[in-house]
Amino acid sequence: MGKRLMLGNEAAARGLYEAGCEFVSSYPGTPSTEITEFAAKYDDIYAEWAPNEKVAMEAAFGASYAGHRSFCGMKHVGLNVAADPLFTISYTGVNAGMVVCVADDPGMHSSQNEQDSRHYAIAAKLPMLEPSDSVESKEFAKLAFELSEQFDTAVMLKMCTRIAHCQGLVEEEDRVNVEPKEYKKTPQKYIMTPANAIKKHPIVEERLCKLREWAETSDINRVEEGSDNEYGFITGSTSYQYVKEVFGDKYPVLKIGMINPLPDNKIKDFASKVKTLVVVEELDGIIETHCNTLGLNPIGKDKFTKLGEFSQTVIAKAFNIEKEVPFHFQEEIPARPPAMCAGCPHRGLFYVLHKKNLKVHGDIGCYTLGAMPPLNALDSTVCMGASVSGLHGFNKIAPEYSNGTVAVIGDSTFMHSGVTGLINIAYNESNSTVIILDNSITGMTGHQQNPTTGINLKGEPAGKVCLEELCKSIGINRVVVVDPYNLEECEKAVAEELEADEPSVIISRRPCALLKNVKHPGPITCDTDKCVGCTACMKIGCPAISMVDGKCSIDATLCLGCGVCGQMCKFGALPLRKEIAND
């Protein structure tokens, strides 16, 4: 079989396939999403989107317990959600091999924080492998299953944006056939009551010692000789690539492929052979801190920042190697931030929130873009689900705000962790209004199905959660559905529900404008004879609308004919939805 370009994520999925993995359950999150999407393309793997990362990890654990190799993947913040099962699965160990992938996002290309997930491996006392390119993404995924079964432990695979979303050449190999492990009822291994768990803890510590011994001899942590031992680098992941890019084979490198547990003797031995020891790692100084406990005190975070991504230039600069940047455009270049797409159903609803000057507890998804000018219609965004739970606390303690405050949350995010917050609103009775932005897809991460869409990861018809029924059954009596393309309808519903003296839910329902199966009337045109250039249509922040020579102009390559701008125009220069579509 030949070599082919593969994303790190595709290579990791190939690794799952070749390792005989049979079960995958994940929740999407950039930059981890494609591992699961690629895994789903193999008929030999059962793959699904779970409602959240905790459910995914527990499902993968169940599959391992049943005797089949299993996997779950998530982004770094997803591991916070799944941390509860993670820490105790460390105690139970596994039956068939189980691999947990976490993908960090240094530089925060599409994340709300920059946490370093390597801390989790140390805290949960689990082995963690860290690939540095697509080849290793596949190799380490396979190795992770071997280690998992050999050491009776879940194994973590740590990706990051530049590994996950970089294509490199990978050779495909055959899938191995792994016989399912026998299921045996073993209460002392799997029932983590205090009496059993207290006996497991020493086993976990012992396991770490054995893994450390393995790490000492395995070539996953390898020394690459150099011609000059003035410096010696300990590094891994992307940082390894940047060090090699700058110095090639000049200085010796100890490349770390297993970040936990670290090989003490190998590190000490390496350090003894070089004049100055340098640790290069993105985000926190984890290898460095470990070196310090060994009394080595390398150069580390005193020279390399804890912030953002590295690059070859970051390494070069730290060693005073100047690089020429010959061209610099002198004028200020306007930023090009992402914006809600033309025709996005979130826009109309957000315009109403903006117009009514409401306090809006926001959440995570495409609708977070409602925070951008000219809508400026968000007051907070923390983590998935926080809009609903935060609104409850806000309204409970400051009821004087409740008539002017709402929460907004997407369909996928509501399924992920909004519903528990809504239960709290119903149970503890805050006078809160929650708006579910139901665009029938998980938009932000690139169109994944979720429990409200009625389709599964493999594209087949599946169970479908009915949002109205769900809200009613947990005790919300006022549930109303609106069309976000209809501003009047939205405004009326928002006013009524805020006015009402009990909890309520507004479901703003329109499928994402980018979904392939959604038909659009097509671009509208502005009647420039009627347009007076009042710029009212600009208030909705649609990328298809701009002012040309003092008149509204519609970009026909972007406009889908949603008709929201027509409702802004008092002069009839832009058509209304009913004039362009028959829905």
Binding site: T30, T33, E245, F329, I333, P334, R336, P338
Partner: protein, 189 residues
């Protein structure tokens, strides 16, 4: 020696397909190749960049300031934004199409005038042309990426057939003819 190409544009313009075709071409010529993409947030109309690197052995997945042998820009302002990444002898192949970013649309910022001329005055080797019209001529504005590749191909020694093969391997069967036409229009522009 490792060669560095950057493809820059606006989310939704099809930069990923262009990098896929380049990656494919270099692989068939037995080079080591890395292609870094952006997914997620910036795809919603934001400024996007992909890196393509090839050579005997490629380490870093990214191209840094002052390193790019070619910057292929799908939009004029993006060409100006990323010109810092161009090396001294590098060439900026750019579409002359202008797409207003949100701050320009809302009036918070202005789109700089005469970008092409200013870049040339800076001493940048600019190869600018109207790729959008050619894409439309080929059959769809979506072919802008292939028109640009066609134009870029003049800076390489690969044969026309090798480029065609790479395109055929990466686009859907029913779009092949349109894309080959787009490639030829770009190559002859």
């Amino acid at each position: 020696m490792t060669k560095n190409i950057m493809i820059v544009g606006v989310g939704g313009q099809g930069t990923l397909l262009a990098s896929k075709i380049l990656g494919r071409l270099f692989v068939t010529k037995d080079y080591d190749v890395k292609v870094s993409e952006v997914h997620g947030m910036s795809q919603r109309g934001g400024s996007v960049v992909t890196y393509v690197r090839y050579g005997d052995k490629v380490y870093s997945p990214i191209v840094d300031k002052g390193e790019a042998d070619q910057v292929i820009s799908f939009e004029l302002l993006e060409g100006a934004r990323w010109v810092e990444y161009l090396s001294k002898d590098g060439v900026l192949v750019t579409n002359t199409q202008q797409i207003n970013p949100m701050p320009v649309i809302t009036g918070a910022a202005t789109y700089p005038s005469d970008i092409e001329m200013k870049l040339k005055d800076m001493g940048v080797n600019v190869d600018a042309f109207d790729a959008l019209s050619l894409a439309e001529e080929a059959g769809s504005a979506k072919c802008v990426n292939i028109v640009l590749l066609g134009h870029l191909s003049n800076h390489y020694d690969f044969t026309e057939e090798e480029w065609h093969d790479a395109i055929k391997a990466c686009v859907k069967e029913r779009f092949i003819d349109m894309n080959i036409k787009a490639f030829e229009l770009g190559r002859n522009a």
